[in-house]
Protein backbone atom coordinates (compact mmCIF):
# COMPACT_ATOMS: atom_id res chain seq x y z
CA UNK A 1 0.00 0.00 0.00
CA UNK A 2 1.00 3.66 -0.48
CA UNK A 3 0.50 6.41 2.04
CA UNK A 4 1.82 9.77 3.16
CA UNK A 5 3.32 10.09 6.60
CA UNK A 6 2.97 13.57 8.01
CA UNK A 7 5.39 13.65 10.90
CA UNK A 8 6.20 16.31 13.49
CA UNK A 9 9.90 17.20 13.30
CA UNK A 10 11.48 19.20 16.08
CA UNK A 11 15.24 19.35 16.53
CA UNK A 12 15.24 19.90 20.28
CA UNK A 13 13.18 20.93 23.32
CA UNK A 14 13.20 24.62 22.49
CA UNK A 15 13.35 24.43 18.71
CA UNK A 16 10.35 25.30 16.59
CA UNK A 17 8.80 22.25 15.06
CA UNK A 18 6.90 21.65 11.87
CA UNK A 19 5.19 18.87 9.98
CA UNK A 20 7.08 17.11 7.21
CA UNK A 21 5.31 14.94 4.69
CA UNK A 22 7.02 11.72 3.64
CA UNK A 23 5.45 9.63 0.88
CA UNK A 24 5.79 5.90 1.61
CA UNK A 25 5.49 3.53 -1.32
CA UNK A 26 4.71 -0.17 -1.43
CA UNK A 27 4.69 -0.75 2.29
CA UNK A 28 3.30 -4.04 3.54
CA UNK A 29 -0.01 -4.15 5.38
CA UNK A 30 1.54 -6.64 7.76
CA UNK A 31 3.98 -4.05 8.99
CA UNK A 32 3.61 -2.61 12.45
CA UNK A 33 3.41 1.14 12.79
CA UNK A 34 6.89 1.33 14.28
CA UNK A 35 8.29 -0.81 11.47
CA UNK A 36 6.90 1.80 9.12
CA UNK A 37 9.07 4.30 10.97
CA UNK A 38 12.04 1.92 10.74
CA UNK A 39 11.59 1.89 6.97
CA UNK A 40 11.18 5.67 6.86
CA UNK A 41 14.33 6.12 8.94
CA UNK A 42 16.36 3.81 6.72
CA UNK A 43 15.21 5.82 3.72
CA UNK A 44 16.01 9.11 5.42
CA UNK A 45 19.46 7.95 6.47
CA UNK A 46 20.20 6.65 3.00
CA UNK A 47 19.24 10.05 1.63
CA UNK A 48 21.47 11.71 4.21
CA UNK A 49 18.65 13.15 6.31
CA UNK A 50 18.43 12.71 10.07
CA UNK A 51 16.08 9.93 11.11
CA UNK A 52 12.94 10.59 13.16
CA UNK A 53 13.55 10.17 16.88
CA UNK A 54 10.92 8.13 18.69
CA UNK A 55 10.90 6.07 21.88
CA UNK A 56 10.29 2.35 21.53
CA UNK A 57 11.63 -0.83 23.02
CA UNK A 58 9.80 -4.10 23.61
CA UNK A 59 7.46 -3.79 20.62
CA UNK A 60 4.99 -6.12 22.23
CA UNK A 61 2.87 -3.60 24.05
CA UNK A 62 4.16 -3.97 27.59
CA UNK A 63 7.14 -1.66 28.18
CA UNK A 64 5.19 1.53 27.56
CA UNK A 65 7.98 3.26 25.63
CA UNK A 66 6.18 3.94 22.40
CA UNK A 67 4.08 7.06 22.29
CA UNK A 68 2.60 8.60 19.17
CA UNK A 69 -0.45 10.71 18.52
CA UNK A 70 -1.76 9.12 15.32
CA UNK A 71 -4.43 11.03 13.43
CA UNK A 72 -5.55 12.76 16.59
CA UNK A 73 -5.69 9.66 18.77
CA UNK A 74 -3.15 8.50 21.31
CA UNK A 75 -1.70 5.20 19.97
CA UNK A 76 -3.96 5.41 16.92
CA UNK A 77 -7.43 4.16 16.12
CA UNK A 78 -7.33 0.57 17.39
CA UNK A 79 -8.75 0.21 20.87
CA UNK A 80 -6.61 -1.35 23.58
CA UNK A 81 -3.51 -1.29 21.42
CA UNK A 82 -0.19 0.48 21.87
CA UNK A 83 1.50 2.07 18.86
CA UNK A 84 3.93 -0.83 18.53
CA UNK A 85 1.08 -3.33 18.17
CA UNK A 86 -0.85 -1.27 15.65
CA UNK A 87 -0.52 -2.74 12.17
CA UNK A 88 -0.96 -0.96 8.88
CA UNK A 89 -3.81 -3.25 7.89
CA UNK A 90 -5.93 -1.27 10.35
CA UNK A 91 -5.11 1.96 8.54
CA UNK A 92 -5.76 0.99 4.92
CA UNK A 93 -8.53 3.55 4.61
CA UNK A 94 -6.19 6.51 5.07
CA UNK A 95 -4.15 8.36 2.49
CA UNK A 96 -2.28 10.57 4.90
CA UNK A 97 -1.45 9.68 8.48
CA UNK A 98 -0.50 12.51 10.79
CA UNK A 99 1.83 11.74 13.68
CA UNK A 100 2.56 14.08 16.56
CA UNK A 101 4.31 13.70 19.89
CA UNK A 102 2.39 13.61 23.19
CA UNK A 103 1.74 17.20 24.16
CA UNK A 104 1.61 18.18 27.81
CA UNK A 105 3.55 20.49 30.10
CA UNK A 106 4.54 17.45 32.14
CA UNK A 107 5.90 15.71 29.01
CA UNK A 108 8.33 18.18 27.43
CA UNK A 109 9.48 17.25 23.94
CA UNK A 110 13.05 15.97 23.68
CA UNK A 111 13.22 15.61 19.92
CA UNK A 112 10.74 14.85 17.15
CA UNK A 113 8.30 12.34 18.68
CA UNK A 114 10.26 11.58 21.86
CA UNK A 115 9.09 13.19 25.09
CA UNK A 116 10.33 13.17 28.68
CA UNK A 117 7.92 11.24 30.89
CA UNK A 118 9.96 11.37 34.11
CA UNK A 119 7.05 13.09 35.84
CA UNK A 120 5.46 9.65 36.11
CA UNK A 121 8.51 8.43 38.02
CA UNK A 122 8.13 11.40 40.39
CA UNK A 123 4.53 10.37 41.10
CA UNK A 124 5.54 6.82 41.94
CA UNK A 125 8.44 8.06 44.06
CA UNK A 126 5.96 10.23 45.98
CA UNK A 127 4.07 7.22 47.30
CA UNK A 128 3.40 4.61 44.63
CA UNK A 129 4.88 1.78 46.66
CA UNK A 130 4.31 -0.41 49.69
CA UNK A 131 7.11 -0.10 52.22
CA UNK A 132 8.45 -3.63 52.57
CA UNK A 133 12.20 -3.78 53.14
CA UNK A 134 13.79 -6.88 51.66
CA UNK A 135 13.80 -9.85 53.97
CA UNK A 136 11.20 -8.51 56.39
CA UNK A 137 8.27 -10.21 54.72
CA UNK A 138 6.23 -12.95 56.38
CA UNK A 139 5.14 -16.07 54.55
CA UNK A 140 3.26 -15.15 51.40
CA UNK A 141 0.19 -17.25 52.19
CA UNK A 142 -0.32 -15.62 55.58
CA UNK A 143 -1.84 -12.68 53.76
CA UNK A 144 -5.20 -13.71 52.36
CA UNK A 145 -6.30 -11.66 49.40
CA UNK A 146 -9.83 -12.29 48.12
CA UNK A 147 -9.67 -13.28 44.46
CA UNK A 148 -11.92 -10.39 43.40
CA UNK A 149 -9.67 -7.90 45.17
CA UNK A 150 -6.59 -9.40 43.63
CA UNK A 151 -8.19 -9.36 40.17
CA UNK A 152 -9.21 -5.73 40.55
CA UNK A 153 -5.72 -4.80 41.74
CA UNK A 154 -4.30 -6.58 38.71
CA UNK A 155 -6.67 -4.68 36.41
CA UNK A 156 -5.18 -1.46 37.73
CA UNK A 157 -1.62 -2.77 37.87
CA UNK A 158 -1.73 -3.58 34.15
CA UNK A 159 -0.83 0.09 33.47
CA UNK A 160 2.29 0.34 31.30
CA UNK A 161 3.06 3.98 32.08
CA UNK A 162 3.00 5.08 28.44
CA UNK A 163 1.29 8.40 29.10
CA UNK A 164 -1.51 7.95 26.57
CA UNK A 165 -4.00 9.00 29.26
CA UNK A 166 -2.30 12.37 29.65
CA UNK A 167 -1.86 12.74 25.91
CA UNK A 168 -5.49 11.98 25.16
CA UNK A 169 -6.99 14.03 27.99
CA UNK A 170 -8.34 17.37 26.78
CA UNK A 171 -7.00 18.81 30.04
CA UNK A 172 -3.62 17.06 30.02
CA UNK A 173 -4.51 15.38 33.32
CA UNK A 174 -2.52 12.50 34.80
CA UNK A 175 -5.41 11.10 36.78
CA UNK A 176 -5.74 7.68 35.15
CA UNK A 177 -2.05 6.84 35.54
CA UNK A 178 -2.01 7.98 39.16
CA UNK A 179 -5.31 6.29 39.94
CA UNK A 180 -4.17 3.01 38.40
CA UNK A 181 -0.96 2.94 40.42
CA UNK A 182 -2.75 4.07 43.56
CA UNK A 183 -5.62 1.63 43.23
CA UNK A 184 -3.35 -1.32 42.52
CA UNK A 185 -1.68 -0.84 45.89
CA UNK A 186 -4.63 0.39 47.88
CA UNK A 187 -7.01 -2.41 46.90
CA UNK A 188 -4.70 -4.98 48.50
CA UNK A 189 -4.53 -5.70 52.22
CA UNK A 190 -0.78 -5.08 52.12
CA UNK A 191 -1.41 -1.52 50.94
CA UNK A 192 -3.70 -0.45 53.77
CA UNK A 193 -1.25 0.97 56.34
CA UNK A 194 0.02 3.63 53.93
CA UNK A 195 -3.25 4.11 52.06
CA UNK A 196 -4.18 7.61 53.14
CA UNK A 197 -0.68 9.09 53.19
CA UNK A 198 -0.14 7.52 49.77
CA UNK A 199 -3.21 9.11 48.22
CA UNK A 200 -2.36 12.59 49.45
CA UNK A 201 1.27 12.53 48.38
CA UNK A 202 0.56 10.95 44.99
CA UNK A 203 -2.26 13.37 44.17
CA UNK A 204 -0.26 16.39 45.23
CA UNK A 205 2.74 15.27 43.19
CA UNK A 206 0.52 14.55 40.20
CA UNK A 207 -0.89 18.07 40.32
CA UNK A 208 2.58 19.56 40.14
CA UNK A 209 2.86 18.28 36.59
CA UNK A 210 -0.54 17.67 35.10
CA UNK A 211 -3.97 19.17 34.59
CA UNK A 212 -7.17 18.29 36.40
CA UNK A 213 -9.64 15.54 35.64
CA UNK A 214 -13.02 16.71 34.41
CA UNK A 215 -14.29 13.22 33.64
CA UNK A 216 -14.23 13.23 29.86
CA UNK A 217 -13.28 9.54 29.83
CA UNK A 218 -10.90 10.08 26.92
CA UNK A 219 -8.06 8.48 28.93
CA UNK A 220 -9.85 5.15 29.30
CA UNK A 221 -10.58 5.08 25.56
CA UNK A 222 -6.92 5.73 24.72
CA UNK A 223 -5.41 3.39 27.31
CA UNK A 224 -3.71 0.43 25.61
CA UNK A 225 -4.61 -1.65 28.67
CA UNK A 226 -8.17 -0.27 28.79
CA UNK A 227 -7.87 0.71 32.43
CA UNK A 228 -11.19 1.90 33.78
CA UNK A 229 -11.98 5.42 35.00
CA UNK A 230 -13.60 3.69 37.95
CA UNK A 231 -10.14 3.81 39.51
CA UNK A 232 -10.19 7.60 39.21
CA UNK A 233 -13.34 7.69 41.32
CA UNK A 234 -11.55 5.53 43.87
CA UNK A 235 -8.62 7.94 43.97
CA UNK A 236 -10.90 10.96 44.34
CA UNK A 237 -12.89 9.38 47.13
CA UNK A 238 -9.83 8.34 49.08
CA UNK A 239 -8.23 11.74 48.70
CA UNK A 240 -11.26 13.38 50.28
CA UNK A 241 -11.52 10.69 52.95
CA UNK A 242 -7.87 11.24 53.80
CA UNK A 243 -8.64 14.87 54.69
CA UNK A 244 -10.98 13.70 57.42
CA UNK A 245 -8.94 10.79 58.76
CA UNK A 246 -7.27 10.99 62.12
CA UNK A 247 -3.93 9.29 61.44
CA UNK A 248 -3.71 8.12 65.05
CA UNK A 249 -6.73 5.88 64.44
CA UNK A 250 -5.38 4.22 61.33
CA UNK A 251 -4.60 1.02 63.26
CA UNK A 252 -8.25 0.60 64.14
CA UNK A 253 -10.41 -1.61 62.01
CA UNK A 254 -13.38 0.36 60.67
Amino acid sequence: MDLNLKVWRQAGPDATGRFEIYPMHDVSEDMSFLELFDVLNEQLETRGEEPVAFDHDCREGICGSCAMMIDGRAHGPERGTATCQLHLRKLTDRETITVEPWRAAGFPIIKDLAVDRSAFDRIVEAGGYITAPTGAARDANEILVPKQASDAAMDAAACIGCGACVAACPNGAGQLFTAAKYSHLSLLPQGQPERFTRVVSMVEEMERWFGSCTNHGECEAACPKEISVNFIAMLNRDYVKAQFKNPALSGQRH
Binding site: K6, A126, W209, G211, S212, C213, G217, A222
Partner: protein
Amino acid sequence: MKTLQDSTKTSDDNAKGSTRRPTNPIRRFWSSAVGKKWVMAVSGLALLGFVFVHMVGNLKIFLGAVHLDEYAEWLRTLGEPALPRTVVLWGMRLGLIAAFGLHIVAAAQLTRMNHKARPVRYQSRRDYVAANFASRTMRWTGVIIALFLLFHLADLTWGTTNPDFVRGDTYDNVIASFERVPVAILYILANIALAIHIFHGSWSMFQSLGWNNPRWNPIRRYFAVTFAAVIAVGNISIPLLVVTGVVGK
Protein backbone atom coordinates in the same frame (compact mmCIF):
# COMPACT_ATOMS: atom_id res chain seq x y z
CA MET B 1 11.62 20.21 34.05
CA LYS B 2 9.24 22.86 35.23
CA THR B 3 6.13 22.08 37.19
CA LEU B 4 2.82 23.79 36.70
CA GLN B 5 2.66 25.54 40.03
CA ASP B 6 5.93 27.26 40.55
CA SER B 7 8.26 28.57 37.94
CA THR B 8 10.61 30.11 40.51
CA LYS B 9 11.63 26.79 41.98
CA THR B 10 14.93 25.38 40.88
CA SER B 11 14.93 22.22 38.86
CA ASP B 12 16.61 20.55 41.82
CA ASP B 13 13.61 21.21 44.01
CA ASN B 14 11.40 19.75 41.35
CA ALA B 15 13.43 16.62 40.95
CA LYS B 16 13.18 15.94 44.66
CA GLY B 17 9.47 16.45 44.48
CA SER B 18 9.23 19.00 47.27
CA THR B 19 5.60 19.96 47.48
CA ARG B 20 4.92 23.15 49.34
CA ARG B 21 1.30 23.10 50.26
CA PRO B 22 -0.57 25.26 52.79
CA THR B 23 -0.80 23.75 56.27
CA ASN B 24 -4.32 24.99 57.00
CA PRO B 25 -6.44 21.94 56.15
CA ILE B 26 -9.14 23.88 54.34
CA ARG B 27 -6.69 25.87 52.25
CA ARG B 28 -4.71 22.73 51.55
CA PHE B 29 -7.81 20.88 50.38
CA TRP B 30 -8.79 23.84 48.22
CA SER B 31 -5.27 24.05 46.80
CA SER B 32 -5.67 20.63 45.21
CA ALA B 33 -7.51 20.05 41.96
CA VAL B 34 -9.13 16.92 43.33
CA GLY B 35 -10.36 19.02 46.28
CA LYS B 36 -11.71 21.67 43.96
CA LYS B 37 -13.49 19.07 41.88
CA TRP B 38 -15.05 17.76 45.08
CA VAL B 39 -16.23 21.28 45.88
CA MET B 40 -17.61 21.57 42.35
CA ALA B 41 -19.43 18.27 42.76
CA VAL B 42 -20.94 19.22 46.12
CA SER B 43 -21.93 22.71 44.98
CA GLY B 44 -23.15 21.19 41.73
CA LEU B 45 -25.30 18.77 43.70
CA ALA B 46 -26.82 21.68 45.62
CA LEU B 47 -27.48 23.53 42.39
CA LEU B 48 -29.07 20.45 40.84
CA GLY B 49 -31.40 20.29 43.83
CA PHE B 50 -32.24 23.95 43.39
CA VAL B 51 -32.83 23.63 39.66
CA PHE B 52 -35.17 20.72 40.25
CA VAL B 53 -37.19 22.35 43.04
CA HIS B 54 -37.31 25.60 41.12
CA MET B 55 -38.73 23.78 38.13
CA VAL B 56 -41.31 21.89 40.17
CA GLY B 57 -42.44 25.16 41.74
CA ASN B 58 -42.62 26.97 38.44
CA LEU B 59 -44.69 24.24 36.82
CA LYS B 60 -47.51 25.46 39.08
CA ILE B 61 -47.99 28.08 36.40
CA PHE B 62 -50.06 25.47 34.57
CA LEU B 63 -52.42 25.26 37.55
CA GLY B 64 -53.12 28.95 37.20
CA ALA B 65 -52.17 32.30 38.68
CA VAL B 66 -53.55 31.62 42.13
CA HIS B 67 -51.45 28.52 42.62
CA LEU B 68 -48.24 30.07 41.41
CA ASP B 69 -48.63 33.25 43.43
CA GLU B 70 -49.56 31.22 46.48
CA TYR B 71 -46.39 29.15 46.05
CA ALA B 72 -44.30 32.32 45.66
CA GLU B 73 -45.80 33.76 48.80
CA TRP B 74 -45.21 30.47 50.65
CA LEU B 75 -41.52 30.73 49.84
CA ARG B 76 -41.40 34.16 51.46
CA THR B 77 -43.20 33.00 54.57
CA LEU B 78 -41.34 29.71 54.90
CA GLY B 79 -40.05 29.25 58.43
CA GLU B 80 -42.71 31.45 60.02
CA PRO B 81 -43.55 31.82 62.78
CA ALA B 82 -40.26 30.47 64.20
CA LEU B 83 -38.35 32.86 61.99
CA PRO B 84 -39.29 36.24 60.56
CA ARG B 85 -40.62 36.49 57.04
CA THR B 86 -38.09 35.77 54.17
CA VAL B 87 -35.30 34.73 56.53
CA VAL B 88 -35.36 31.13 55.29
CA LEU B 89 -35.68 32.37 51.73
CA TRP B 90 -32.64 34.59 52.19
CA GLY B 91 -30.78 31.75 53.82
CA MET B 92 -31.44 29.63 50.77
CA ARG B 93 -30.45 32.49 48.52
CA LEU B 94 -27.17 32.94 50.35
CA GLY B 95 -26.53 29.21 50.13
CA LEU B 96 -27.20 29.36 46.43
CA ILE B 97 -24.94 32.33 45.95
CA ALA B 98 -22.18 30.50 47.81
CA ALA B 99 -22.69 27.35 45.70
CA PHE B 100 -22.62 29.38 42.49
CA GLY B 101 -19.57 31.28 43.66
CA LEU B 102 -17.58 28.21 44.64
CA HIS B 103 -18.64 26.34 41.52
CA ILE B 104 -17.56 29.18 39.27
CA VAL B 105 -14.32 30.08 41.05
CA ALA B 106 -13.21 26.42 41.17
CA ALA B 107 -14.10 25.98 37.52
CA ALA B 108 -12.16 29.08 36.53
CA GLN B 109 -9.09 28.04 38.49
CA LEU B 110 -9.16 24.50 37.14
CA THR B 111 -9.54 25.80 33.61
CA ARG B 112 -6.47 27.95 34.09
CA MET B 113 -4.58 24.98 35.47
CA ASN B 114 -5.61 22.88 32.50
CA HIS B 115 -4.47 25.51 30.05
CA LYS B 116 -1.09 25.53 31.76
CA ALA B 117 -1.01 21.75 31.58
CA ARG B 118 -0.97 21.89 27.79
CA PRO B 119 0.72 25.13 26.80
CA VAL B 120 1.28 23.93 23.24
CA ARG B 121 -1.87 22.49 21.73
CA TYR B 122 -1.97 19.62 19.28
CA GLN B 123 -1.11 20.89 15.84
CA SER B 124 -3.27 18.36 14.05
CA ARG B 125 -6.98 17.72 14.48
CA ARG B 126 -7.94 15.69 17.53
CA ASP B 127 -10.21 12.71 17.06
CA TYR B 128 -12.15 12.35 20.29
CA VAL B 129 -13.58 8.98 21.24
CA ALA B 130 -15.16 9.33 24.65
CA ALA B 131 -15.21 13.05 25.32
CA ASN B 132 -18.62 14.25 24.11
CA PHE B 133 -20.03 17.61 23.15
CA ALA B 134 -21.35 18.14 26.67
CA SER B 135 -18.11 17.36 28.45
CA ARG B 136 -16.03 19.49 26.14
CA THR B 137 -18.32 22.52 26.27
CA MET B 138 -18.84 22.65 30.04
CA ARG B 139 -17.04 25.96 30.38
CA TRP B 140 -19.13 27.52 27.58
CA THR B 141 -22.46 26.16 28.72
CA GLY B 142 -21.42 27.27 32.21
CA VAL B 143 -20.75 30.82 31.04
CA ILE B 144 -24.04 30.89 29.12
CA ILE B 145 -25.92 29.76 32.20
CA ALA B 146 -24.20 32.38 34.38
CA LEU B 147 -25.01 35.20 31.97
CA PHE B 148 -28.56 33.95 31.55
CA LEU B 149 -28.91 33.83 35.31
CA LEU B 150 -28.13 37.53 35.58
CA PHE B 151 -30.73 38.31 32.93
CA HIS B 152 -33.22 35.99 34.60
CA LEU B 153 -32.78 37.78 37.93
CA ALA B 154 -33.07 41.19 36.26
CA ASP B 155 -36.12 39.97 34.41
CA LEU B 156 -38.19 38.24 37.07
CA THR B 157 -36.66 39.12 40.44
CA TRP B 158 -35.62 42.75 40.12
CA GLY B 159 -37.82 43.54 37.16
CA THR B 160 -35.31 45.85 35.52
CA THR B 161 -35.61 44.31 32.08
CA ASN B 162 -39.31 43.70 32.32
CA PRO B 163 -41.35 46.88 31.67
CA ASP B 164 -44.58 45.37 33.00
CA PHE B 165 -42.98 44.05 36.17
CA VAL B 166 -45.06 44.29 39.34
CA ARG B 167 -43.30 43.06 42.50
CA GLY B 168 -45.08 40.08 44.01
CA ASP B 169 -47.27 39.49 40.96
CA THR B 170 -45.36 36.40 39.92
CA TYR B 171 -47.78 34.87 37.42
CA ASP B 172 -48.39 38.06 35.49
CA ASN B 173 -44.69 38.88 35.47
CA VAL B 174 -43.83 35.54 33.92
CA ILE B 175 -46.51 35.82 31.28
CA ALA B 176 -45.55 39.37 30.46
CA SER B 177 -41.95 38.40 30.03
CA PHE B 178 -42.43 35.24 28.01
CA GLU B 179 -44.96 36.79 25.65
CA ARG B 180 -41.99 38.60 24.10
CA VAL B 181 -40.73 36.23 21.41
CA PRO B 182 -36.98 37.03 21.72
CA VAL B 183 -37.13 36.53 25.48
CA ALA B 184 -38.90 33.21 25.10
CA ILE B 185 -36.26 32.06 22.61
CA LEU B 186 -33.53 33.21 24.98
CA TYR B 187 -35.07 31.18 27.80
CA ILE B 188 -35.40 28.13 25.61
CA LEU B 189 -31.80 28.30 24.40
CA ALA B 190 -30.47 28.91 27.88
CA ASN B 191 -32.34 25.90 29.18
CA ILE B 192 -30.91 23.76 26.41
CA ALA B 193 -27.45 24.88 27.53
CA LEU B 194 -28.46 24.10 31.11
CA ALA B 195 -29.57 20.60 30.13
CA ILE B 196 -26.31 19.95 28.31
CA HIS B 197 -24.37 21.19 31.32
CA ILE B 198 -26.40 18.98 33.61
CA PHE B 199 -26.02 15.97 31.35
CA HIS B 200 -22.24 15.91 31.91
CA GLY B 201 -22.26 17.50 35.38
CA SER B 202 -24.67 15.10 37.00
CA TRP B 203 -22.60 12.16 35.76
CA SER B 204 -19.23 13.73 36.44
CA MET B 205 -20.36 14.52 39.99
CA PHE B 206 -20.39 10.82 40.86
CA GLN B 207 -16.80 10.44 39.69
CA SER B 208 -15.56 13.51 41.53
CA LEU B 209 -17.24 12.39 44.74
CA GLY B 210 -15.97 8.87 44.20
CA TRP B 211 -19.45 7.36 44.20
CA ASN B 212 -18.50 4.45 42.07
CA ASN B 213 -19.59 0.87 42.35
CA PRO B 214 -19.51 -1.25 39.21
CA ARG B 215 -22.85 -2.74 40.18
CA TRP B 216 -24.54 0.65 40.23
CA ASN B 217 -22.49 2.46 37.62
CA PRO B 218 -24.90 2.00 34.70
CA ILE B 219 -27.53 3.83 36.77
CA ARG B 220 -25.31 6.91 36.88
CA ARG B 221 -25.54 7.55 33.17
CA TYR B 222 -29.24 6.75 33.19
CA PHE B 223 -29.73 9.25 36.00
CA ALA B 224 -27.81 11.96 34.15
CA VAL B 225 -29.82 11.54 30.96
CA THR B 226 -33.15 11.45 32.78
CA PHE B 227 -32.36 14.39 34.99
CA ALA B 228 -31.17 16.57 32.10
CA ALA B 229 -34.22 15.62 30.05
CA VAL B 230 -36.68 16.33 32.85
CA ILE B 231 -35.17 19.73 33.52
CA ALA B 232 -35.09 20.58 29.85
CA VAL B 233 -38.69 19.55 29.18
CA GLY B 234 -40.03 21.07 32.39
CA ASN B 235 -38.29 24.42 32.07
CA ILE B 236 -38.72 24.84 28.35
CA SER B 237 -42.41 24.00 28.45
CA ILE B 238 -43.16 27.26 30.28
CA PRO B 239 -41.78 29.84 27.80
CA LEU B 240 -42.86 27.62 24.92
CA LEU B 241 -46.48 27.37 26.00
CA VAL B 242 -46.61 31.04 26.94
CA VAL B 243 -45.14 32.35 23.71
CA THR B 244 -47.43 30.11 21.68
CA GLY B 245 -50.40 31.45 23.61
CA VAL B 246 -51.47 28.17 25.17
CA VAL B 247 -50.96 29.68 28.61
CA GLY B 248 -51.83 33.32 29.12
CA LYS B 249 -53.67 35.87 31.21
